[in-house]
């Protein structure tokens, strides 16, 4: 117990402090956090689906939970059930084998639902493209509000993308090509 307290005290609070302006990258984290709170004023729940990624994007989405970005500290939470989720965060080119599972997850979410495609693969199909086993970008399978390019996008970009989706700056969902 004492060791745990000791570690906590020694490590301090690395969460990046509230900034007055958006100048340094470190400041930007807090700036985005504040905007999220201003817009939402409450918790945001996210269901994340890996639709066939290489797991690079998952590593960076995981990083959002570390003490620097402190996502949960803002009331943004990853949830297990799509029925509890406001936002669907999707990574990867949609593999043919995940298309049904992705669509069902999306259907299980209550309206209004936001869909954010994370990473180059989710945005365009990326290096994997479309083929016999890949449906390509996420928008080929479900309507997407907002895309976050990058391979993988760093956590700060993912945070920015989540912000732009909740503040209504995402594109209008294009029709799903069938």
């Amino acid at each position: 117990m004492w060791k745990i307290v000791d570690r906590i005290l020694r490590a301090g609070i690395p969460s990046e402090p509230p900034p007055p302006v958006r100048a340094e990258p470190g400041d930007e984290v807090s700036h985005i956090q504040q905007r999220l709170l201003d817009i939402l004023g409450k918790a945001l729940t996210i269901r994340m689906v890996d639709a066939g990624s290489c797991n690079g994007c998952e590593l960076e989405i995981h990083a959002l939970g570390n003490p620097y970005y402190n996502l949960e500290g803002l009331g943004i939470k990853f949830v297990a059930s799509p029925r509890h989720a406001d936002m669907l965060l999707v990574t990867g080119p949609v593999s043919r084998h995940m298309a049904t599972a992705l669509r069902r997850t999306w259907e299980a979410m209550p309206d209004p639902k936001l869909v954010v495609a994370v990473g180059d693969c989710g945005c365009t199909g990326g290096v994997f493209g479309a083929g016999y086993a890949s449906c390509g970008r996420v928008a080929n399978v479900i309507p997407v509000h907002c895309t976050i390019p990058g391979c993988p996008p760093p956590p700060i970009d993912i945070l920015r993308g989540i912000l732009s989706a909740v503040s209504g700056h995402g594109e209008a969902p294009p029709p799903v090509s069938t």
Binding site: A63, G131, Y132, C151
Partner: protein, 521 residues
């Protein structure tokens, strides 16, 4: 070459490691060779299928990669046609079973008299009448409408037995896969996996890329092992092109590989602690991992070091300041990791969850061919960095971590040891980093060529087997097979769960942390 009491004609491939290539004369030799490797204490790394030759002469072959005392043996068995079956190796090497099923799905070649005829990577949704890796196959683009076929799981029957189905969409930020638990109360009687959900056609995609561009795709086979895969791909390409990388580039590649190992162990140690209910483990280790990645971004231009290893060398160089900051970070990281290790070791509640959970005995590990870090935690001390040391590892005397207990506690202990050893290796490399260029031009060979890359990634041995051929005057990738140690380790996880309780699954699973994408391809 003599393996046990079997004589094989093998040629050395031009590679920085002992890699040999040969052809089995017939099906009987194929089986004898496998037995000889097993008797000589070797192991099977991978099985895959290729097609060689032009037009009507095109012929399917099955290929195996073994490790014997001499090095890596790449053995071919030519088949008269796809309809001809080859001898089943799963009775000799248990890990062959799923690889053979995958080969049937992707290349349409079948092992004879196999018990399990179920498809493995194919969920019944791909279009086209030819298997997707058949050279003349022109599969149509995927359409997301129809639903996958059902998968006949093995049913456990008896009083009070019920099933828990999990996935493919899991309850966290994890890759997709399906787990079917047969349980009585909390106790798991059987776990059966169904994978292949992230199969996106990587091996076919390779054939559409230029040989010098393939490293980017290789670096995305499994994002957490991007350095290891790009490294293996480049090693294979450079072997095919008979090109040696500059000394400094070889050292920097090893340095990146060790940094990748540390980053993954840091992330997983936090995750394992968290899955046993110790939240501070996740908070502290995710902070350390973030520090590690941020410096990586500053010095190498990418947090995960994607595309830093490329054909002919590396994309980044270090100046004196960079060397100093890496050195300082290693020192600081060592202090922090040692403090966390003391915290782990002295936390009775944590150790109570770790000790005995998900135990894989040395005998079981040996029989199932457990690989890499997980194997080292079960007393099987194989590490490419020690066994067949590539420069600069040959000068660094890598201390290979190992443990005998094979449980979560052992895997945690091996991970701590490996972090500390990698920190030592990085510091040694920084101290003796040779001067010179970091990249050289790779001139593609004039003729068809093959090459293999073999790298000890953080999870275990990664193999890339590359074949180049001429097509209308240009050299193209005829086949690129990527093998992840997860192939060996996924089936072992099924065994590790037997008799454990359902709530320990996340903990046991995380202690292995296997790749879905690297397995599904």
């Amino acid at each position: 070459m003599r393996i046990g009491d079997f004589e094989l004609d093998m040629q050395a491939l031009p590679a920085p490691l002992p890699i040999f290539h040969g052809v089995a004369a017939n099906a009987a030799d194929w089986e004898f060779a496998a037995r000889a490797v097993l008797q000589a204490g070797g192991r099977l790394i991978s099985l895959w299928s290729v097609e060689r030759g032009e037009g009507a002469q095109r012929q399917p072959l099955v290929c195996a990669a073994y490790v014997a005392a001499q090095g890596l043996l790449w053995l071919d068995l030519p088949l008269a046609s796809r309809a001809v079956h080859y001898p089943d190796l799963s009775g000799i090497f248990a890990c062959a079973e799923r690889m053979q099923r995958a080969m049937a799905d992707l290349s349409g070649v079948h092992a004879s008299e196999v018990r399990d005829q179920r498809p493995w990577l194919d969920h019944g949704l791909w279009t086209g009448d030819l298997p997707p890796l058949a050279r003349c196959a022109r599969p149509a683009a995927a359409m997301p409408q129809s639903r996958p076929n059902g998968y006949p799981f093995v049913r456990v029957e008896g009083d009070g037995v019920h099933e828990i189905a999990v996935g493919p969409v899991h309850a966290g930020i994890i890759e997709p896969g399906h787990f079917r638990f047969s349980v009585v109360g909390e106790k798991v009687l059987r776990l059966e996996q169904h994978l292949g959900y992230t199969h996106k056609g990587i091996e076919r995609r390779f054939t559409e890329l230029a040989p010098l561009e393939g490293y980017r795709l290789a670096g995305r086979v499994s994002g957490d092992s991007t350095v290891a895969y790009a490294f293996a791909y480049c090693m294979a390409l450079e072997a095919a092109a008979q090109c040696a990388v500059p000394e400094r580039a070889a050292w920097l590649r090893a340095l990146l590989l060790e940094r990748e190992r540390v980053a993954n162990h840091l992330g997983d140690l936090g995750g394992i602690g968290n899955d046993a209910g110790l939240a501070i483990a996740l908070a502290q280790f995710s902070r350390l991992r973030e520090d590690w990645l941020r410096l990586g971004k500053t010095l190498f231009g990418h947090r995960l070091m994607m595309d830093c290893v490329l054909p002919g060398g590396v994309a980044c160089d270090l100046d004196a300041d960079a060397v100093r900051s890496l050195e300082q970070q290693c020192q600081q990281m060592q202090r922090e990791v040692l403090a966390m290790r003391r915290l782990f070791d002295e936390h009775a509640g944590l150790q109570d969850r770790f000790i005995g959970a998900g135990r894989v005995s040395a005998a079981l590990a040996q029989r199932l061919g457990l690989a890499g870090m997980a194997a080292r935690a079960s007393g099987i001390v194989t590490d490419l960095r020690g066994q067949f040391a590539l420069p600069p590892y040959d000068t660094l005397a890598v201390r290979v971590a190992s443990h005998r207990n094979g449980d979560v506690a052992a895997r945690v202990s091996v991970r701590f040891d490996e972090v500390l050893e990698s920190l030592r290796l990085i510091r040694e490399m920084l101290r003796a980093l040779p001067a010179g260029p970091v990249q050289q031009v790779v001139t593609l060979p004039a003729n068809a060529a093959l090459g293999a890359g073999w790298v000890e990634g953080w999870r275990g041995e990664i193999l890339v087997a590359l074949e180049l051929e001429h097509d209308n005057g240009a050299l193209r990738i005829a086949r690129c097979h990527c093998h992840d140690p997860s192939w060996q380790n996924w089936p072992v996880l099924e065994h590790a769960m037997i008799g454990n309780i359902v709530p320990d699954f996340p903990l046991i699973n995380k202690s292995f942390n296997l790749s879905y994408s690297g397995h599904d391809l």
